[in-house]
Amino acid sequence: MNKNLPKWVDLGLIPLLTLLLAFAVSGLVVLSIGENPVEVVKVMLQGAFNPFGIGHTLYFTTNFIFTGLAVAVAFHARLFNIGGEGQAGLAGVGVALVMLSYDWPNWPVALLAGTLAAMAFGAAWAAIPAYLQAKRGSHIVITTIMFNLIAGALIGYLLVGPMQAEGSLPESAGFPEAAALPSLHVILGWFGIEFDRFAPANISLFLALVAAVLVWVLIWKTRLGYEIRAFGHSEKAAVYAGISPMKITMIVMLVSGALSGMMAVNTVQGEAERLVLGAVEGAGFIGIAVALMGRSHPVGVVLAAFLFGILTQGGAELQFTLGIPAQMITVIQALIIMFTGSLENLVRIPLEKLFIRAGKGAAS
């Protein structure tokens, strides 16, 4: 990334310091509403890590890994996919359609079918903006944002219309019992480890970790990843090397959409076991922050996703225990996004100066 700084500073210290800055400012905000920041942190951490909370934290983390990876893959091709929200939403529809269309005999087959459906629907929803970008030059930021709105409206329509189950709630019928994915409680139980029975975290967490490894292989080990990165750094160079910008744009957005879509395996198939309204809950947007903070590297994405998982669950606890409004946690998340996303130079530039001076001292 930067030749002036050692890798561990660039990838480790800078994100950490920006994060601390964001927390410091958040602390001031907390003070301003008359709460004790230390108390708030304590409640949040307890809320995120207590035996009940951790199951939720990991559940949110799973969502953010998928959407974070989606944004990260697109970033490597210098494409800004902010349509994770819509792609994940539509993928939920796909999962529901597949789950309801057949009486699935057991969970492994259901997982496979659900994952493929989620990927296909997520990718398909990304394909249209991708095609418009690649062929017509319509800016992908604009089109994916608009597609989020379209997806929201479409899902809303489906849930009060064709897909609505008998009864009054705008949600689909429940999925076949046998198709239920094993929760973390079940999986850890196989190894004799106790885990909260009602935790929503499920096998999708491992799916997310596998996805992270596969993304790493894709970006850094395959020829396609090489082409994606080349295209991301310089489109002119890519054309010179015989890499088709159209092809890369399409492939990257399909992969990105599929990754966003996989989130539905966690929420729709793993947790709700039916399609409900608002299943994505903003995770598509948090994915942007996760990718930025994780510097588009799968390891970074996983770590950042965990952090946002903690914040989300800890924030809920905050509201529950201290009566601090949920908006507070949104403020903190926004501060983190602001600091890690756009105010990074606040930390980077002084650090660079410091290292140059230290480097010179060592050299002379």
Partner: protein
């Protein structure tokens, strides 16, 4: 004359126009300027030569207030002066003409001259004053430009005059020009030098930064040589030679000529027939261009930048599309439509060293081993199973290429942007030449490359020719075209203006052709 200038006049005998004392400047770990002292006498034309990265531009940027020196001081006309920004520089009577012009394209000449020097809230009075002043300057210095022309409508040579006018309008007594002739035809360059001599006669002091030694010899009174951030030599131009200057720049004796034997020309490799290119705005960039290229020859395309050479390279290399015509490779037509793919060209034996290595030839944040396979990354030797890249073989290959082409430092893990211009170009050349193409397209092989590496690069090109390959060389450096080519085509406004053999022509004839004049038609 005011009291002040009279005083300055009295000091004149002792006070030089510019005096830099012990200037040092570091960018991170790079010491761009090391304890540099330089004096330029009033009314002199002083040249600064040096390789890329020698610190010339940094030094002048310090003088103009773009950078702040870490240490050292500046005296202008004998008066210690602190220059913190360009306003200070202008106030001290310093004007600068940048290599890349800083003009607003959709403003008129007059508006550009006034921009930043407006007086009052309305533009009218400033514009009227500037119009009068421009007329005076035009008469005095041969600096005529239509004040109402839009910048985008006038040639580069005229744009440069606007830059000079801007400086003079701001009362500059000292004029710094950074690589002023890079974009000019020889004719325009001559005109520029006439302007500079006129300015000198009026007592202005001029500093020109250049890497063209011939210009230094032609136009300057004294010259300073920079090397690796240090000033190695300052000397009166009359008492030095291009060879001496080159040696001072590089630190060793340099061959300014290219050693090559007569071409052993074989059968035709490529035929270009009636090739035309129309750009997205509907402008014809290439108009019915036809030529042949044979084994064992270097065909040089001379011309001022922007006369269709780039489009020609782009079409043949599969990057750009032609609107008409055809290109035959070994007698077979190649795809020159917009569906062409540069990757397929490589399979047909066409290598390409692009004009712009930063944007095209290299992926700057890629490591060398990634760059040495760039464009060939799907070849079997770089491919593993399941779509994986064979990184081991890519790295090994990079190590070998770095050794054979003397790329320094020879570390395959370094990213392209951390190499000097010369070494970056060697990475591209190594990649393209080692593939042993039947036809190599080379654009601006030594742009931004230091003299030491130029020698090496030229030799590699000649060696490739001698091994029976065809080479299409595009360069805006006339010296380079003359030194390397076995045959020269001159392009002007998308047309081949003439074909010459290097031994039968000279610079002034080529210069006329480059300006669109056919010298034979005149006679």
């Amino acid at each position: 004359m005011s009291q002040m200038t009279e005083n300055a006049g009295r000091l004149d005998a002792v006070a030089p126009a510019i005096e830099l004392i012990g200037i040092s400047k570091a960018f991170g770990p790079v010491q761009a300027n090391k304890d540099i002292s330089m004096t330029v006498a009033k009314g002199a034309i002083h040249g600064i030569v040096g390789e890329n990265g020698a610190g010339k531009s940094t030094l002048m940027s310090i003088l103009y207030g773009f950078y702040k020196a870490d240490s050292g001081s500046v005296k202008i006309n004998g008066v210690p002066t602190t220059i913190n920004d360009s306003h200070d520089a202008i106030a001290a009577g310093i004007g600068m003409v940048h290599q890349h012009f800083m003009l607003v394209d959709n403003f008129t000449v007059l508006e550009n001259v006034v921009l930043g020097a407006e007086e009052g809230a309305t533009l009218g009075p400033s514009l009227r004053k500037a119009r009068k002043e421009l007329k005076r300057l035009a008469d005095e210095y041969e600096l005529d430009v239509d004040p109402d022309a839009l910048i985008e409508d006038i040639s580069v040579g005229f744009q440069q005059r606007v830059e000079i006018l801007k400086a003079l309008y701001r009362q500059a007594e000292i004029l710094i020009l950074d690589e002023p002739t890079g974009v000019l035809t020889p004719d325009e360059a001559d005109h520029l030098f006439r302007i500079l001599r006129n300015l000198k006669e009026q007592g202005k002091t001029i500093v020109i930064i250049t890497h063209k030694l011939r210009e230094i010899m032609d136009v300057t009174d004294s010259v300073s040589v920079m090397r690796r951030g240090e000033m190695t030599k300052t000397i009166a131009t009359a008492s030095t030679s291009p060879e001496d200057l080159a040696e001072a720049m590089v630190g060793r004796r340099v061959l300014l000529e290219v050693n090559k034997s007569p071409a052993q020309v074989g059968e035709t490799v490529m035929q270009v027939k009636d090739l035309s290119v129309t750009d997205m705005h509907g402008v014809k960039r290439l108009k019915n261009v036809s030529f042949e290229l044979k084994r064992g020859e270097i065909l040089g395309i001379a011309g001022v930048a922007g006369n269709g050479q780039s489009e020609l390279l782009e079409v043949i290399s599969g990057i750009g599309a032609a609107s008409a015509g055809e290109v035959l490779m070994h007698g077979e037509a190649i795809d020159i439509s917009r569906h062409a793919n540069a990757g397929l060209r490589r399979q047909r034996g066409i290598g390409h060293v692009p004009e712009d290595r930063h944007q095209r030839g290299l992926v700057m944040p890629f490591m060398t081993w990634e760059n040495t396979a760039f464009g060939y990354h799907n070849e079997p030797e770089y491919s593993g199973r399941f779509g994986l890249a064979n990184q081991k073989s890519m790295k090994q290959d990079a190590r070998e290429k770095m050794e054979r082409f003397d790329i320094r430092p020879p570390i395959p893990q370094l990213v392209a942007s951390s190499f000097s211009g010369g070494n970056q170009q060697k990475i591209v050349l190594a990649r393209e030449i080692e593939r042993n193409p039947d036809l190599l397209l080379i654009g601006q092989p030594t742009r931004g490359v230091d003299i030491g590496a130029i020698e090496f690069i030229h030799q590699q090109i000649v060696n490739l020719r001698d091994s029976g390959k065809a080479i299409l060389l595009v360069s805006v450096e006339l010296d380079e075209i003359q030194a390397l080519s076995d045959r020269i085509l001159v392009m002007f406004d998308g047309v081949i203006q003439g074909e010459r053999l290097p031994e039968d022509t000279n610079e002034s004839e080529l210069g006329l052709l480059m300006a669109g004049v056919d010298p034979e038609a005149k006679q």
